[in-house]
């Protein structure tokens, strides 16, 4: 069985200008949304208290809000989480050590009228911890991108390095943009997912770059655009199949993994799709725009590749 039977080279690069325009618009859109809406930062970043409780029957959110109002938690955000019985309550950070006991106070307030309330989790994060985390998360992302840039530049060529890092940055920005537009809560697991998107997208990009390099060395004639088209066509089946299997498990995670992991699965699902697109269009387009040529990729003397290969007809 074969997914796509490609007898001819697909002219991917014909669409590179529209793709670039599309990506630029999306990136700008993401920036605008991040600027206007910002991200819906989760507790891990903002600090505060989060309480998840379970009711035996469908929970009455209005009633809970009234109960909390009475207990002086006017700022509480009350919403369903996962199912109609599970309720998530968020309370902004307050000054003072009392913040630590807020969880117990809220629980006491909810149980005051004798309702059976099951404590599922209570999390309290001080504002300082959140601030540090934001810095750390951002730093982790930048360091990761930088190290990748250096490694790819060493192993391949600086134009490819810039191309793959642009593709990665593209994916990260769009994923953040999606979270900003949809106002999905951005917590630590989502951050982990964004970092995983970097890993996935990188994997994809390297495979494509690797093939382009190989073909530059192997194919004697041909413009860079043609060689890139040939390489993309050759790797297309693999790109789609890997994305497909990954998407398959992510869909399982999205539907079966539980509410806590929803953000994680959403970020990765989107990231995998965008990552697949960017490895085809962004990485190679950028390398092309930077003027990649055959000479740049000829192997240094010691490379073993090509020695035992016949030139392609």
């Amino acid at each position: 069985m074969q997914l796509l039977k490609l007898s001819e080279t697909v002219n991917f690069m014909r669409l590179r200008i529209p793709a670039m325009v599309l990506s630029t618009i999306l990136i700008l859109g993401s920036f605008v949304s991040l600027g206007v809406n910002s991200l819906n930062w989760g507790l891990d970043f903002t600090g505060g208290t989060l309480i998840e409780v379970g009711y035996e029957d469908a929970a009455n959110l209005e009633g809970i809000r009234a109960q909390l109002n009475e207990a002086n938690f006017e700022d509480a955000i009350v919403q369903n989480f996962g199912s109609s019985q599970d309720v998530l309550i968020r309370i902004a950070p307050r000054d003072g050590v009392k913040a630590v006991t807020i969880g117990e106070q809220v629980l006491a307030a909810l149980r005051a009228d004798g309702t059976a309330v099951d404590m599922r989790r209570i999390e309290f994060v001080g504002p300082n911890v959140g601030e540090e985390l934001t810095e750390q998360g951002g730093l982790a992302m930048l360091v990761a991108l930088l190290c990748i840039l250096v490694y790819v530049a060493m192993r391949f060529e600086w134009r490819f390095a810039l191309g793959s890092v642009s593709a990665l940055a593209h994916d990260v920005i769009l994923t953040l943009g999606l979270f900003s537009v949809l106002q999905i809560e951005f917590d630590l697991t989502v951050l982990a997912a964004v970092l995983a998107v970097i890993g996935y997208s990188l994997n994809d990009t390297i495979v494509v770059c690797d093939r382009i390099r190989e073909n530059f060395r192997k194919i004697r004639k041909g413009e860079p655009v043609e060689i890139i088209n040939i390489s993309l066509t050759q790797t297309l089946n693999r790109t789609i199949i890997t994305s497909l299997t990954t998407v398959l498990v992510l869909v399982a995670l999205f539907y079966k993994g539980g509410a806590l992991i929803h953000g994680f699965a959403t970020a990765l699902l989107f990231g995998v799709v965008v990552g697949t697109y960017s490895s085809v269009y962004i990485a190679s387009s950028v390398a092309l725009a930077l003027g990649i040529s055959k000479e740049d990729l000829m192997p240094p003397q010691v490379e073993k590749e090509g020695a035992d290969l016949d030139p392609m007809p």
Binding site: E123, R155, A196, T245, V249
Partner: protein
């Protein structure tokens, strides 16, 4: 002939997979409900204790699955949670206060496997329920205290040396010593420089010398504060009787405390958060308390109220601090009044006997010091702590005190018990503040595991079916590799002592399942390409594996690199995720390249093959 397996390749693949599978095995045995008994300060667990436990259980008609005695702890395994409750109650009654009896879940790993070092994966609190605290040590307070010590040291040594000074004062992060003339300053500077190497001295003006802690000393003070707090918190956690607690340093001034299975956070916090210490000081009898209350407090003294609110004039000089206390028990004295019996370490004993020798017949005060948050924050966003001092007893020194003595004058037996507990657990030398707290209910933890497992199963099934349809016989090979890969991840996670499986970690495994086939897809697509170009099956296999190799290597090394950075910079869930990701990358490369090659060679290699089912 192409594609023949070398023996060492087959053997090494087999051995690696077998070892991983062996260590993954403990995870399928599940867990026993258990009760864990450990000794308190005054007791030891011996074979006799084991017999006592067994006797108590048979009397109550409880038949445990196993009673284990190891590492000075007894573990009683029972069949269900109800029996577990009864067992705990029974044993608590029989053993009394000298032992800590805690409920626990013990892995039901067979003994032969345990002997090989096999243990199941450690589950994070999000998967098993419990409390996680992140605490911060208040360093300003620690440093101020050290400066105060140095301050009184200066007074004493200058006096002993006969150097006249006008005043010694601790301000913010330094101590200013003022003199009457430059001559005295020069002499003092020369003397103090030699004596106190931890401090740097600068002349601020003609008559003032300023002392500041050297950077190395500050570092040492901070490290010690965190270390001592960790020791003390560990002691306190033991008093709570928690099974498998974790107390660990994080960053420069933070401590992570994880208490699996604990639900009563209020009690845990009360015990952990109590920041208290004791000081023994002489009552100042040379000066009049009335003058002090009118605002003329002598420079070497201080007014502190006692529990009834009556002010006492005490010397500032501290005879002994609570850090020398090694044990404290509550009891009653000959008049039936509550007291606390204190034992000191040898250094503390020496100090005590030296300072009480010349003071027999004079009153000595015990001061209880507690740090309480005011609820306010300073400019750096740190919580402000207030020092609360209270005289809890004034007793006349009847004889020279040694390393054992009593504190009397307590209000109630309960107060004596609480004080003894605090003293026994050691006094926190620096205030700590909970900056993060996460409690996960046991039902949610269980649900998280179930949902995570389900996701893995469904995802895995989908990928297996897809690969089988798409690559036929080679799909079977890839599927074997995929399952081997999962087993290896579990095995390695169980082998690494520090690795903990968390919810994001499970997500990492799910992701790995999806991505693990990538290497095989790359190889198989190459083989197909080679076949399309008209190569023989044998050559196609050979060429396919060969030319895919460098691609796989490059792609995985870069992703691994990303994982490594996450591990280095990240905390908590990010670390958990990056560990599984890195392990997943390593194992998937091993299985996709080596394991499948061994299978492919064994099935198709070394013979004439007309057509490949790929």
């Amino acid at each position: 002939m192409l594609n023949k397996n070398s023996i060492w390749k087959v053997l090494s693949a087999l051995i690696v997979v077998a070892v991983c599978a062996l260590y993954a095995l403990p995870n399928i045995y599940g867990e026993d409900h258990a009760v864990q008994i450990s000794a308190g300060r005054d007791a030891v667990v011996t074979d006799a204790t084991v017999e006592q436990v067994k006797a108590a259980l048979s009397e109550k008609n409880i038949s445990p699955k196993r009673v284990e005695f190891e590492n000075e702890q007894i573990l009683v395994r029972v069949s269900d949670s109800d029996t577990q409750l009864i067992t705990r109650e029974t044993l608590e009654k029989v053993l009394g206060d000298d032992y800590y009896v805690a409920m626990n879940l013990a892995p039901d790993t067979p003994e032969w496997l345990e002997e090989l070092g096999g243990t199941p994966m450690k589950l994070g609190l999000d998967l098993r329920g419990g409390v996680h605290f992140l605490m911060e040590v208040d360093m300003t307070e620690v440093i101020t205290k050290s400066l105060e010590d140095a301050e009184s040291g200066f007074r004493t040594s200058l006096r002993e040396e006969g150097i006249r000074y006008r005043g010694v004062k601790q301000i913010d992060d330094h101590i200013d010593i003022t003199f009457r003339d430059e001559d005295a300053l020069d002499k003092a500077e020369f003397f103090l420089r030699n004596q106190s190497r931890d401090l740097t001295f600068n002349q601020v003006d003609d008559l003032t010398l300023r002392a500041i802690f050297a950077e190395s000393k500050l570092q040492e003070i901070r490290d010690n504060a965190v270390k001592q707090n960790i020791t003390i918190i560990r002691n306190r956690v033991n008093q709570l009787g928690v099974a498998e607690p974790l107390v660990q340093k994080q960053g420069a001034d933070r401590i992570v405390v994880q208490l699996p299975g604990i639900q009563d956070t209020a009690r845990a916090k009360e015990i952990l958060n109590a920041t208290a210490t004791l000081e023994f000081r002489m009552v100042d009898q040379k000066n009049d308390i009335r003058d002090a209350l009118n605002g003329r407090v002598p420079p070497g003294s201080q007014v502190i109220e006692d529990q009834q609110g009556i002010p006492q004039l005490l010397e500032k000089r501290i005879m002994l601090t609570g850090s020398h206390i090694i044990d404290a028990n509550s009891g009653v004295d000959e008049y039936g009044l509550p007291n606390v019996n204190i034992s000191l370490d040898s250094e503390g004993g020496n100090k005590m006997s030296r300072s009480t020798r010349g003071n027999i017949g004079k009153p000595m005060a015990t001061v209880f010091i507690e740090y309480k948050s005011t609820g306010e924050r300073n400019d750096d966003g740190k919580l402000v702590f207030e020092k609360h001092e209270q005289v809890i007893s004034v007793a006349t020194i009847r004889a020279q005190l040694g390393s054992k003595f009593q504190i009397t004058g307590l209000d109630s037996p309960k107060e004596a018990r609480d004080l003894a507990l605090l003293l026994r657990a050691g006094a926190l030398i620096a205030p700590i503040q909970i900056v993060e707290e996460r409690t996960v209910g046991p039902s949610l933890g269980k649900e998280n595991i179930e949902l995570g497992m389900q996701a893995i199963m469904y995802g895995l099934a989908a990928v297996l079916v897809f690969m089988l349809i798409y690559y036929k016989a080679f799909g079977v090979v890839a599927n074997i590799a995929l399952i081997t890969n999962l087993v290896m991840i579990v095995g390695i996670m169980s082998m690494i002592p520090g690795a903990t499986l968390t919810l994001p970690g499970m997500a990492g495994i799910v992701l790995t399942v999806g991505m693990a086939v990538d290497a095989n897809v790359l190889i198989f697509e190459r083989i197909r390409e080679e076949m399309r170009d008209g190569r023989s099956p044998q050559q196609a296999i050979h060429q396919g594996y060969d030319s895919a190799f460098s691609t796989i290597l490059d792609a995985n090394i870069t992703t691994f690199l990303a994982g490594l950075i996450l591990f280095a910079v990240g905390t908590g869930p990010i670390k958990g995720f990056s560990i599984t990701l890195m392990i997943g990358i390593a194992t998937s490369m091993f299985t996709a390249i080596l394991v499948t090659r061994v299978i492919v060679n064994a099935v198709w290699g070394g013979k004439r093959v007309e057509k490949l089912a790929i």
